[in-house]
Every structure is written in C-alpha cells, then in structure tokens.
Symmetry: C2
Subunit: 337 residues, 2 copies
C-alpha cells in the first residue's frame, strides 16, 4: 500500500501538497487535486481515517430512503445492523450528478476515506455506471451489473426463484394461461424478470408463447394496449414486473369492471409497503429490504477479504394476499387448445 | 432454542436417555435415537460443543480432495483460511451412501455438533439431494441447487460471465462460427453453461443456431459424432463444458491431424491443474478453487447471520494459454453466408 511520500515523489510535489489534496483542502488547485487523486488511486493508496472505525458508504440516487415507507430506508438499516457489530461505520451519501461529474468513484471513496460502497438506485443514465466497469474500490450494486470487474458485486433477489414461485402459485390455482406485464423495458432487472417469467412457464409446463408478454416504457401503454390483448388471448392471471404496475392494473380493472381475483388474478413483485393496503391486498414476491442491506455487508466483507464475488442473491418469498384466486375457466375446458 | 429437558418432556423420556441419544452413545436403541434426533431437529435444539470453537463441516462425495492436484483440496484450504480467523473449526467428512441412508442432514449435523456445511460433489444420485430441499441447518452446495429452501445457498463461478469471456476472446481472434461440446448432459451446472454459451453468442452478435451444440452423456460420443458435425458446419473454434472434455478433444485432434490452434481453437472450463501441461496448454475459464472455499465461508456466515441467500457466484477469469489462435478463415469470407 502506497504512502503519501511515494505519491509526492512520483509527482515531484511536496508531501504537504499531497496531504492537502487528499484531505480536500481549499488552497490546492483543481488540477493538482485531480493529479494527486489519480496517482493515489493508481498506487493503491488508502487514506487512514483518524477516527478509528473503518468506513463503508451507501451511495444513493433515484431512490427515496428517508421515511420508513421508502424502499431505501430498510436497506440502509439492514446494512448498518450487519456492519456495526463488525466494527464498521456506515455513511449515507446522496450520489448527485455533480459528484459523478467531478470525481471518479475510486477518487471519491479515497477522499471520503471509505473502503467500499453499496450503490442504490443507479440507472442507465448515471455517469458512474461505466466507471464501475473499471474501478478498484469494492462496490456492491443493487440490481445492476458492471461488466466483469472483479471488484464489483451484483446483489438482489433471486428473480428466477421468485417468478417460479409466482407462476407455481397460479398454476396450483388452476390457471393455464398466464400473462406478463412489464414497464421500464430497458433496465437490467426488468430484463431478468421477463426472462425468469418465461423460464418458469416452460419449466412448469405452461403455455409459453411470447405473445403472452406485454412490455412498454410506460404503465399507460401496458394498461391500454397490452392488458386488453392478454385478456383477449384468454389469460386468467397476470404477473407484473413490479408492484406499482400491479397496483395500476388493479385500479384499471376496478374501473373497467374486471373482478379481481374473480375474473383475473394479479401478482406483483417487490412487496413494497403499499401492497397490504391495495384493494384487494396484493399477492407479491418479496424482496426483503433489511436482508438486502445485510447481504450487501456480507458481499462487501467478501470483497474486502479478497474474494471477488460476482453475484449474491437473496432467496425470494411469495407473500400470498387477496389478489389471486382459482381460475374462472374449468380445468376440462383448458385442456383443449 | 430448545433444551434437552424440553425434548425429554415432549417425548416422555428421561433427560439421561435424551443426552445419550444426542451424544451417539451405544446403549440407546436405534428407534429411540431416531425419535430423539427428529424431535431435537423439530424443536431447533443446537448441541453445545464442549471444546469451544463453533464447527463447520465440509461434506464431500464424488470428488477427490486429498492431493494438492485434486479439485477439492484447494477448496477446503480456502474454507479453512477464511473460517479459522473468524474462530470456526472445520471438519472434513466423506459423505458416504451409508451416512445418507442412516441420517437426515439435520440429524447428522446435530450429532456432529456442526452449525453448517459446505457440500462438495453431490450428484443427482445422492439421497441427500432431496433432503436439502427441506433442511433447517445452513448448507452451501457447490454447483447444485435445492428448490427454494431459504437455508440452502448455491455457490459456484459465474458461468454467464465465464462463457461470455470465452466467446469474446474467440470473436476478437476473428472466429465467427463457434461450436459447443458438452458431456454430463443432466447435471445442473452443465445445463447452466450450455445456456450461458448460447446467451453469449447472441449478446455478441454471433451465429447462434442450435446445431452448433453437441451434447452427450459420454466424451466418446462428443468426439465421434458431434465434433465432426461441428467441423462440417464450418466451426473454427470449440468451447467445451469442462477441461477434461477439452483435453480429450485436443488429443483427438492431434490423432486426426487437425492442427490446434491452426485449424481449430479450443477453450476449456474450470482451469484444473492439468491445463498448463496439455499440448498446447489449454486456454480456459478459471474457477478459483481457494476463492470458492472462502466464498463458502462468507455464504455460511451470511446464513448463520440470518440472511437467507440463494446464490453466491465468483467472478470468472479467462486464462489465455496456447489453444486458441486467429481464425483460419479470412474475415471477408466469413461475412458472406
């Protein structure tokens, strides 16, 4: 591990200047600061944090986390619950576009004295998504991947397992033709869930023709064009890519007089707090948020222990509420094509 | 957590009998022993190990592990290296058919005073494969899955990433038609690799017709019928499901005068110690065995910490040796169908 002296020597600067640049002092030019940070990252310098406990960061963007009903809230609590007994401090940092423009991830972590980060909410539009393909500081990305970088781990729920549970539940209720609705077409996790749904149909011996899927950028398109198309094909159940979409489908069905679950069964995905309050309450696949946070700590421990893990997935859990019921089509009739 | 008293009360036995049954004493009938063990597992009894350090087990079957060149050897060392600093003892236990017939997994772990196990080499023929679908004691299965049991974690290398690296390497060398050979058709991990190979072809924009795969139970069938078929289709490179098969293909090509890598490039999977000694040395996707062992410890820690993880995958690594070279077909010619 490099020292400040080595960085100073490599750049022909004084140790004082290097120290100032690394601590973010104001009387160092932007050019020098950048130069020092880049060299420090290159040489593998790790800043000592004087206060004692090693630090981990939660970098959060595009995701609410301040209220107990926000998705990020329990994730952060989970991470803290696992990290603190192991002697780590956890700092929560909103990941602004400005930070992403000004620093590379490695530089930012070095400046903040953090050994690794859980990154929540990163989207395809975020500048750092590319940065994670080459970074050296351990990073755990929730529901995102970054090429084959050995320093980055993907965490999430086991979408294959979850979709299989959802489809198996519907099949046990007698549903033979099950449709799939998905918004947010481009995102990594929604592509995963889409594939997982059709794999589940195949593995459970159900009709898996691809016209049973309706995917769009926006919810409105799912409701206006895809849902009627699925119903016209004889679907008696629909699995949705995420709970918010499932809730929109519930509302839409109520408005159009489609009885749920009498005429149509609906399954969501995520188990956001809202699900128990919809009418009827939504059957869904749970992502346990506190466990996600804890698993992020184990993934970071693994990386900090020198074990380059690519993927860590939580077991899924099906939460059965009121939005699914027996298929309205008798089994005999379904057997005929 | 239940006590011996509670087990004794629940069964109407003396505490002494329960204690004897749990410690494997000889003067307890088989029926009583079974009864006590089942009740102990049901009530969540955890046997105290007097010697102090908590214990983990490596249960190993169908896999060599005693010599440094055996696959299991480094895995066990890796697990020990991660477990011992954390205060755990690791016991290696050959998992015989007799053990599997006599006990359920939970009972056996309770008798041995182990809190969790890494299970190596389990095959579709092993009686315990079903047992892991319902067990309560944490188990980490290498290259195997067990339904959706929250107490069981699957570990392995990221086959998707590995296949993508292999195919990308061959594409960069100008290969446009790449075949796939696989023996051991039925096993979980070989199904994964087969799918991963075709996904990589698709994602990298290469010819992905399914006739480019040759799968069989035995190596001889791969060599005699599938390999000639792939060559007849114009394949200039072949990816193999595992190194032993790749080595057989190398030998077969040498016998038949097919130059490797002049006429055919070959990639293996696993990076067993043999690979650097084949002629030519084999380019392959590495499963880092020591890191697999370490990651098993992190997976068990995660389970023991109450976080039910389904999957933990290591990053893959492509080891470039001499068995791949530029495509013998000029790029212009390949562009034409």
């Amino acid at each position: 591990m490099a020292t400040m002296d080595e960085i100073a020597r490599a750049l022909g600067l004084s140790k004082g200047t290097v120290s100032k640049a690394l601590s973010g002092a104001e009387d160092v030019s932007e050019t020098t600061r950048k130069l020092v940070l880049e060299k420090a990252v290159e040489l593998g310098y790790a800043r000592m944090v004087r206060s004692g406990a090693p630090k981990l960061a939660v970098l959060i963007t595009n995701m609410a986390y301040e209220r107990p009903e926000d998705f990020g809230y329990d994730v952060i609590i989970g991470l803290r619950k696992a990290a603190q007994p192991a002697g780590f401090d956890v700092e929560v940092i909103p990941l602004t576009a400005q930070i992403q423009a000004q620093y590379r991830y490695d530089e930012f972590m070095l400046l903040r004295g953090c050994r690794g980060a859980l990154v929540l909410g990163l989207s395809l539009r975020d500048a750092w998504l590319r940065d994670f393909e080459t970074c050296r500081t351990p990073a755990v990305l929730y529901d995102n991947r970054a090429g084959g970088n050995p320093n980055v781990t993907h965490i999430g729920v086991d979408n294959d397992e979850g979709m299989r549970m959802a489809v198996a539940h519907l099949r046990a209720l007698g549903h033979a033709r099950i449709g799939y609705l998905s918004a947010c077409r481009g995102s990594y996790v929604y592509q995963q869930r889409y594939r997982a749904f059709f794999r589940a149909l195949r593995e459970l011996g159900l009709d898996d023709r691809h016209t049973l899927a309706g995917r769009a950028e926006h919810t409105s398109e799912c409701l206006q064009s895809h849902l009627p198309r699925l119903l016209a094909q004889g679907c008696t159940a629909v699995v949705c890519s995420h709970d918010m979409l499932a809730h929109s489908v519930l509302i839409h069905c109520a408005e159009r007089g489609v009885a749920v679950p009498g005429a149509l069964s609906i399954v969501g995905f995520d188990d956001i707090p809202l699900c128990r309050y919809t009418v009827p309450p939504l059957t869904t696949v749970r992502q346990n948020r506190a466990e996600l946070g804890k698993s992020a700590f184990y993934a970071l421990s693994c990386q900090l222990g020198g074990v380059p893990i690519s993927t860590l997935l939580l077991h899924a859990e099906l939460i059965v509420r009121g939005s699914c019921g027996p298929s309205p089509i008798p089994a005999e009739k379904e057997a005929q094509p």
